[in-house]
Symmetry: C2
Subunit: 384 residues, 2 copies
């Protein structure tokens, strides 16, 4: 009798796994047919989609490998004050920047039942904690000189003044001599036959090679000769530059160029809606219930996603995805992840907070990352 | 001429190194002649020194290996509000607990010149930031039920309410059945021929086998039979127990039992005043200027000390020790440390904050730790 039951439950698990994989495939197919549908928190936060440039857009990401992390927005609701809520979001941003993360996915781990929406709120709007975490992550990733243009006053950013800066390599000061700069298309009339003017944080705006929507955030490659002449002799030329895809500085100079933020309304959306060419080909779950056997080297991959749980852990995030299917997947997380790892096997505290787990897990895992393509590898393995 | 200069400077460095080592030896000698002279922030915070028990006291530490970290108190002065100052101290405490650190040394990295003491303050008092960091570390390490007895109201603890709990394994709730408990000797008269009563966080106090100064913090081993009977049948017996050294629970049960806090008025005091038998036999400095070559395994050691710098880095902390000697030592930190390591060689942010560096470095280093003696090893190496 017990044997029968076990066989039945094993069959159910197998079926659930199959259905899960099919669902992933379907999502990926429908995605390639439609346009990218990232949930963004506002038009101003959308990173460049310049039509003129030949290799700009999400497809361009196929040219390099990426590291993503997924973090539940609900961790903010566990903070003890609005200031600490903001500070916590800042800790996530800094951890992502320290480990050169390409994408931070803010996912909803609470599911529909626990939804805190009132009847007046729109149905498809993300949970407020997810929106706030995403907004603060984007705010910190944005170079200081662009913030006033891209981030209007908002209650989510009320305590932004206490945030520790990212000190990211693409956050330049005016005096820094650099080929690439992040900028915003200026809101002023464009002369016929000329390109738009872009504020890149220098004393003067830069004229680009195309006309773009004012207010768009762009990555600009400056015309080196004019720029050098301007800074060395003090002669005042008109600075020129061209709009390039945001991954170009990293590919050309091996310089970290910030992360992209995506909101996912469930764990399955976090996994399926990969903005890069193809899908995540290495998914790693982190949990104190995971295996203590950390592999000496991770399999060579293109797009890695590392999942972090919230207060209730990753299993609960999967269960809250809704439906019986996810309940059975949560029973064995290796259905979902290529690796399910405990990166701090001898923890002295009964709990590890998500902001701590990110630093710990990325310290342990990034030296073991091997990317298939791309001009850089993460971690120490390439050097030691 | 240049060659001569180089030879002279090499000779000077060699002499400085020799002098530094002699100084360390002298300190260690004079220490073994005198009593342990830890700088503590108050008598209430002193951990047990019970005369009756045969193996209680700092000497007992020879029985096991230890992991210490040294953190500059000045990092608190970089926080943007009193609440965040407190929160930062809490982050250090949680990092120490997660990695089962035995001792946190709070050192003064600013030196005498930058002293912020006013004329009214006593000369030998530690810097306020060091005192506050030490106090909050001790407050968080102390089980909740003892705090009101051991920590009187103090401005340093004004925002203690926002601190995340350590959730350490020796912080028991009343219902937890456990052999060892932390306690405080009750302030009530002892009957002739009987031992003191100790509050260990249970409904009733425990009678111990000796008379101790009221208010002393002690580790108590409960008489199991009486305790079991009490909790299972509900019969009200008098609970009995014996005072044991604070390291015993860890040695016997392999259970983390919190950290010891020490204030050091300079980097040299941090290194020399090791409270354990002998000296630190493995000193590791961490810095982005350190070597990216992390050894696969650290040499087998008894007492490991990992040094973290503050805003200005470890070199400045050594220079601020005072005198020409330390200036020359700071020029080559391998004079001071057995290893000088960069544990995050591909950092995407220009800076790593000390509270982040502790989590990152301990994640990278503890799996490589091998202890000579003791009943436990840290990290994953023993299991994988």
């Amino acid at each position: 009798m017990n044997d029968e039951k076990e066989i039945k439950s094993a069959r159910e698990r197998k079926l659930a796994k199959k259905k899960w994989k099919e669902e992933k495939l379907m999502k990926s197919l429908s995605k390639s047919l439609n346009e990218s549908n990232d949930v963004e928190t506002g038009p101003a936060l959308k990173k460049i989609k310049s039509e003129g440039s030949s290799d700009v857009g999400p497809d361009s990401y196929k040219r390099r490998s990426t590291l993503s992390i997924a973090v539940p927005g609900s961790i903010l609701d566990n903070a003890q004050s609005p200031e600490l809520r903001t500070y916590l979001a800042g800790q996530i941003a800094r951890a992502a920047c320290i480990f050169q993360v390409d994408e931070v996915v803010v996912y909803d781990d609470l599911g529909e039942e626990e939804s805190s929406h009132s009847d007046n709120e729109p149905q498809n709007e993300a949970r407020p904690c997810c929106l706030q975490l995403a907004r603060i992550l984007q705010y910190l990733e944005c170079p200081q000189y662009l913030r006033k243009h891209l981030f209007p006053l908002h209650k989510d950013l009320q305590f932004a003044g206490i945030l520790n800066p990212l000190d990211a390599p693409h956050h330049f000061r005016q005096k820094d001599k650099t080929i690439y700069r992040e900028g915003i298309v200026a809101r002023r009339p464009v002369k016929p036959g000329r390109g738009s003017m872009v504020n890149v944080g220098l004393e003067k705006d830069v004229q680009i090679n195309q006309v773009l929507q004012p207010g768009t955030r762009v990555t600009v490659k400056l015309n080196c000769d004019e720029y050098e002449d301007e800074t060395s002799t003090g002669h005042s030329h008109k600075l020129r530059g061209e709009v390039v895809p945001p991954w170009q500085p990293r590919a050309h100079l091996d310089q970290y160029w910030g992360y992209h933020v995506r909101i996912a309304n469930s764990m399955s959306a976090a996994l399926s809606d990969c903005p890069f060419q193809g899908m995540y080909d290495l998914i790693i779950g982190t949990s104190d219930k995971g295996s203590k056997d950390i592999p000496a080297q991770l399999p060579s991959s293109d797009h890695i996603l590392i999942l972090f749980g919230g207060l209730q852990g990753l299993e609960m995030a999967v269960e809250n995805n809704g439906g019986q299917l996810y309940k059975s997947v949560a029973n064995d997380m290796t259905n979902l992840c290529d690796y399910y790892l405990n990166t701090c096997p001898k923890q002295g505290s009964r709990t590890i907070r998500t902001e701590e787990a990110i630093l710990i897990s990325l310290s342990v895992l990034t030296p073991k990352v091997v990317f298939k393509s791309g001009s850089f590898t993460l971690g120490a393995s390439s050097e030691s």
